[in-house]
Amino acid sequence: MIEPVQLPDAAALGPALVLGLTALVVFVFDSARPHEPDRGLLAGTTAAGSLLALGVGVWYMIAGVGVPEPDGAGVISLFDGQLVVDQLALFFMLVTAIVTALVAIASYDYMDGHAHQGEYYSLVLLAATGMATMAAANSLVTVFLALELASLPSYALVAILKDNRGSVEAGLKYFLLGALSSAIFVYGISLVYGATGVLQLDLVAEAITGETGQHVLTGNAHDVAGHDGLLGVGIVLLLVGIAFKTASVPLHFWAPEAYEGAPAPIAAFLSSASKAAGFVIAIRVFTTAFPVEATAGLVGFDWSVAFAVLAVATMTIGNFAAAVQENVKRMLAYSSVGHAGYALIGLAGVGAGANELVLGAALMHLFVYAFMNTGAFLFVALAEYWGVGRTFADYNGLGRRAPIACVALTVFMFSLAGIPPLGGFLSKYLLFWGSLQAGMLFVAGALVVNSALSLYYYSRLVKAVWFEEPVTDHGSLAQPVGLYAALIAAAVMTVVVLPGFGPIADSALDAATAVLTS
C-alpha cells in the first residue's frame, strides 16, 4: 500500500475546518460588495465549500482515518482528547456536508431577492461547522460549545425573513425553547462534573466504573458513589437537552412551529443535519461516558430503558400528529419527529444484546433520512417558490404541471414511508431486525405499526399530486435551476443508496462497533 501523506493531526478535522473557512470566505465576498450581493457567487461558494468538505471526508474515510490500528490510520485524538476523529465523527461530518450542499444549491432560487444573502449563507456554513464539530466532540465542554455553535446561527436563520410574521414567530419560539434547553443542558453538565470531577467523556466513564475512591486525574480522595444523586439528576438533565436538539418527545413541540415558519431550505437543514448532529452527541455522550451497567448500578436507573420509552413515545406521537395535518410542511415536521423516534431505537438497543446492529441501523437511517427528508422539504421550498399554497389540496394536480419534481417527491415519500425498493425501507428493516434480535419486541412492534400509519399520510400527498384534479390552474410551472438540481440530486441519492447500501451499511456498523467498544 502507498504510504499515506503525512498531514498534521489537526487536519483530521478537515471537513469542519473547510466549512468554517468557507463561512469566512463568504463573509469576505459579501463585505466586498455589501449592497449588490452576487447570489450566484455566494451560493456557489457555499455549495463548493460543502462539496469540498464532503470530498475531504470521503477521502479520509477511504484512507482509513478513524479506523483503529492496524487496519487503518488510527483514531485521531486532538487537543488532549477534547475532540476525537473516529468513524462515527467522519460519518456524521459527511451527512452534514451533504445536507449543507443541497441546502445551499436550493437556496440560490429560494432566497432570490432577499436582502441579506451574505449573512444567510455564512450563517448556514457556521451552523454546519458547529454540527461537524459536534460529531467530533469528546468532552462535555466541546459538546456544549459545538452545540451552541450550531444552535445560535440556527435561531437567526429561522427568523431571517424579518418581515414575515410566521418566520419571526418561529424564530422566537425556537430561540426561547433552545435557550431554555441549553441552560438545562449546561446545568446537567455542571452536576456530572460535580459528581465525577472530570468533563472528558472517557474520563467520566473511568470515574463511574472505577471504584478507587480517588479523583481520576488528581488522585485526591473523591468517591463518585457518594454523589450518585448529583450524577442521576445530571444525566436526566443531559437527556432533556438532547431530547430538545433531536426534537424528541417531550421536547418536540418547537419543531412543527419552527419548521413551518422557517424558510423551507432552513427547515430541511434543521430537520436533517441538526437532528443528525443531536443524535451523534446523544450516541457519543451516553455510550462513551455512561456505561449502561455501571451507571445503572450507581444511579438506580438504566438510561437505555429511558431511550426505549422516548423512542416509542416519539414515533407514536409524531406519526399520529402527522396523520391529522392539512398543511404539508407541518405534516413533514411531525413526520421528522416520528423519524427521530426510529433513530432513538439505536440508543435504546445499547442496553440489550446485538447492540452494534441496532445502533448501526440507526446511523444508516439517519444517513438515508438526510437525503429523503431534505428532498421532501426542498419540494415544499419549490411549492413556496411557485406560490401554489401550503395545504394538501393546494398540491392537487401538481404532477401534471411539474412532472419531474413530482417524481422526485414520490421517491421521497415512498422512501420515508419505507416502501421496499427504496433506501428508507432497508434502514427501517435493519432497525426492526436489530430490535427483534435485541429482544425489544414492544419497540419493534411500535416501529411496524407506526410505519404502516405513516404510509397513510405520505401516500395521501402522492395521491394529491398525481391523481387529484388541479383546482384552478393547469399551466406548467417554472423550473428554477438550483431547486431542481438539489431535488434531483437528493432523489438520485435516495435511489442510489440502494446499490450503494453495502459500503454505507459497513461503515455505519463499523462506526457503531467502534463507539461501543471504545
Binding site: V141, F144, L145, E148, L152, Y155, A156, A159, K162, D163, R165, G166, V168, E169, A170, G171, L172, F175, L176, A179, L180, S182, A183, I184, V186, Y187, I189, S190, L191, Y193, G194, G197, V198, L199, H215, L217, T218, N220, H222, F253, P256, E257, E260, G261
Partner: protein
C-alpha cells in the same frame, strides 16, 4: 471556607428561580433574564466544584459558558427586536399565527 453544600444549594435555588420565571413570565425580556439565571446557576456550580475537586477545568469551562451566554442574549435581543417590529409587542403569548 464555606462547605460545598452551600454553593450547590445557592445554585439549585437560582436554577429554580429561573425556571419559575420562565413558567410564569410572558415578557420576552423577562424570559431571557430567567434563562440567564439558570445559566449562571450552572456557572456557580462549575466554579464551586472546580474548587472542591482542586482542578481548573470547571473554572475555564465557566468562562466559556459566560461568553456563550452573552452571544445567546445578543441573538435573543435581535429576535425580540424583530418580534416587536412585526407584532408591536414583546409578549411571547401574542404571536399565534400557527396552531398546533
Amino acid at each position: 471556607m464555606m462547605a460545598i453544600e452551600g454553593y450547590v444549594l445557592l445554585s439549585a435555588g437560582l436554577f429554580c428561580i429561573g425556571l419559575f420565571g420562565i413558567l410564569t413570565r410572558r415578557n420576552a425580556l423577562m424570559f431571557l433574564m430567567a434563562v440567564e439565571l439558570m445559566v449562571n446557576a450552572a456557572v456557580i456550580n462549575l466554579v464551586a466544584f472546580a474548587l472542591y475537586h482542586g482542578t481548573l477545568t470547571g473554572q475555564v469551562f465557566g468562562l466559556f459558558v459566560l461568553g456563550l451566554a452573552a452571544a445567546e442574549v445578543a441573538i435573543g435581543l435581535g429576535i425580540i427586536l424583530v418580534l416587536y417590529r412585526n407584532f408591536g409587542t414583546i409578549d411571547v403569548s401574542v404571536p399565534t399565527t400557527m396552531r398546533w
